[in-house]
């Protein structure tokens, strides 16, 4: 068996190899397709959406799905389909930017903690432990409440709440890679610490970070939806999926489609992200290489 693995030549480079392996998992491909569609909708919302998200038409309030309003209208007669399409923009933005914030801050903290070890490590990781001990949704609520409502603050709140996860993961990978000989080899030719961390260590621990990131986007969208639901997120009339859910809540008995469709949009996105995340994890896991 060992014979077979060492003998196998891998001619593809990193990215090509990963794409090739993702292609073998039907779930991951389905996830990628769904995500691509949602991205497309988000980017070209202005062209695709039948009407503007804020366009009110009180004559058509509370209309069920019909040929004119495919997914019905809300209490102000706004087209739910258009709002979901525009909402994709906000939700994806919140998801990716907050994860971006968490990854950058958490990644640097984790890398520094893992590389230097000792007291630096202790200091950073205990702070992370404190953050971790508070449920992330509560933490996000507290941060959002203190910063005030708004899209930008929402992203910061969700991002900060997710920092410890990334710090932990990066620290773990850095610890395992720091012990490898090529790091020592880099030091032997006179490389600086910063160069070693950014050129040699971090690129080699991207796999778990990317996977966590993909799954993290899903969580971030959910947390953001939750915050919007309780009124700490985006402000009307900006169509955020969570806010739409919250808006439709009062009418759920009589007009269930007002909550149903944004709910489905959230579910589909999360599902797709999880599929892609799982597929990536398998594709990037060196133990599964064959």
């Amino acid at each position: 068996m060992q014979t077979a693995t060492t003998a196998t030549k891998k001619r593809r480079n990193g990215v090509g190899e990963v794409l090739h392996r993702i292609g073998k998992s039907p779930m991951a491909v389905a996830g990628l397709v769904i995500l691509a569609v949602i991205f497309f909708l988000a980017v070209f919302a202005d062209v695709i959406a039948p009407v503007h998200y804020a366009k009110q038409n009180l004559m058509h309030a509370f209309e069920p799905p019909s040929a004119q309003f495919w997914l019905g209208t809300d209490e102000f007669g706004r087209d739910i389909l258009s709002r979901i399409i525009y909402g994709a923009r906000i939700s994806l933005m919140v998801g990716f930017i907050s994860v971006g914030i968490a990854m950058c801050v958490g990644g640097v903290l984790g890398a520094v903690a893992g590389y230097y070890g000792g007291r630096t490590d202790n200091l950073i990781m205990r702070a992370m432990d404190i953050l971790l001990s508070i449920p992330s949704i509560l933490l996000a609520i507290a941060i959002a409440a203190s910063l005030g409502p708004g899209l930008f603050n929402l992203m910061i709140a969700v991002g900060i709440a997710a920092i410890p996860q990334y710090a932990r993961i990066v620290r773990g990978s850095v610890l395992s890679i720091r012990g490898q000989e090529f790091v020592e080899a880099a030091r032997a030719v006179g490389s600086s610490d910063a160069r070693i961390i950014f050129k040699h260590i971090l690129p080699n621990c991207m796999a778990p970070i990317i996977v966590q990131g993909t799954l993290g986007v899903a969580t971030a969208i959910l947390v953001a939806a939750g915050l919007s639901f309780i009124g700490l997120g985006t402000q009307p009339p900006i169509p955020e999926w969570g806010a739409m859910l919250s808006g439709g809540r009062s009418y759920i008995r009589d007009y269930p489609y007002m909550t149903l469709f944004p709910g489905i949009a959230i579910m589909l996105t999360i599902l797709a992200l999880n599929f892609v995340g799982d597929g990536l994890r398998d594709a990037l896991d060196p133990k599964l290489k064959r």
């Binding site: 068996m1 014979t3 077979a4 003998a7 891998k10 001619r11 064959r290």
Partner: protein, 328 residues
């Protein structure tokens, strides 16, 4: 030797791995014989197919991607490849035991060593727990571990001691054949000397047949009766140890000997075999060694070399060298 009854007779065995990039022909048309009480040294470089052959005998080739394509493995006259999985389970550990390279990973870290041996005994012999544990202590004594250490966990032993425990487990059911896959590679020289000494002594005592897989010709010289040299999935030379060491005929065997730095001679430059092992998914046609061979003629690139007997019991898969009459 053909008249002797054979313990193991492998005929024309091929084992392939199906991988993304094609078919790895790990073992290709391999023939091998082992008599009762003999020790066979199985020598080759990484990727030569030594371990795959051993796993093939145990029917443990991971499948997929591995597959026994053709051949017979006659063990005590019965073809192991035709046996059911249930029958194989009683063969493994019972009649054929295997020792793996790394003693650190072949023991369960949360079970005491006597229980690990007893488990093996209970699996293959009709004994109660107490008898099995007694047998375990006997086995430990046999490999030179004192009874008071029987209740220790593997991590309390050093590498050499762990390998002794592994040997005790392998021999617990009195197997007819012991396959040792690089049993001392992970050990230091002085500890290796201890373990080899122990294995030689046990072999004398128990008369177990053994296949010793190794890349170290020194270990072969020390422990084996016969030697098979493997290259790219085939046996290229097979002989009684003395004959092979004093008169290596196959160009690869000669190259292997020349690559070793000598302890008792001064050498300016080591003679090396040019080039690298061929890619096992893309073996050259004819003799797999011909692109690196100084003796190669045109027919070597087309004809797959058959084993030729150059002197009694000395088989070489190289018609060119055999024809030259390189007899002593």
């Amino acid at each position: 030797m053909a008249n002797d009854r054979l313990l193991l007779d492998i005929r024309n065995l091929s084992i392939h791995y199906e991988v993304e990039d094609g078919t790895v022909r790990a073992v290709e048309g391999l023939n091998l014989r082992l008599g009762y009480g003999e020790t066979l040294g199985f020598v080759g470089e990484t990727g030569a197919g030594k371990t795959t052959t051993a796993l093939g005998i145990m029917r443990l080739v991971p499948s997929p991607p591995g597959r026994v394509v053709k051949g017979e493995i006659l063990f005590e006259g019965e073809d192991l490849l035709k046996k059911s999985e249930a029958e194989m389970r009683s063969v493994r550990g019972g009649k054929i035991a295997m020792i793996f390279q790394d003693p650190m990973t072949s023991l369960n870290p949360v079970i005491t060593v006597d229980r690990q041996i007893a488990e093996m005994v209970a699996l293959h012999q009709d004994v109660n727990e107490k008898e099995a544990l007694e047998r375990a202590v006997e086995m430990l004594a046999l490999v030179g571990i004192r009874p008071e250490r029987a209740k220790d966990y593997p991590h309390q032993f050093s590498g050499g001691m762990k390998q002794r425990v592994v040997i005790a487990i392998a021999l617990a059911c009195d197997p007819a054949l012991l396959i040792a896959d690089e049993p001392t590679t992970a050990l230091d020289v002085t500890i290796q000397a201890q373990v080899l000494e122990l294995m030689k002594e046990l072999k004398r005592k128990l008369n177990t047949s053994m296949i010793m897989i190794t890349h170290d010709l020194g270990i072969v010289a020390e422990t084996c009766d016969k030697v098979a040299i493997m290259y790219a999935g085939r046996v290229v030379e097979y002989a009684e140890k003395r004959r092979l060491f004093l008169n290596p005929v196959h160009p690869y065997t000669q190259g292997l000997f020349n690559s070793l730095p000598e302890l008792d001679e001064e050498q300016e430059e080591l003679k090396t075999i040019p080039g690298l092992m061929p890619d096992p998914t893309d073996l050259p046609p004819g003799c797999p060694f011909h692109p690196r061979c100084g003796y190669a003629g045109p027919q070597c690139a087309t004809e797959s070399p058959a084993m030729v007997e150059v002197e009694p019991g000395h088989l070489v898969a190289c018609p060119v060298r055999a024809r030259k009459g390189d007899k002593p």
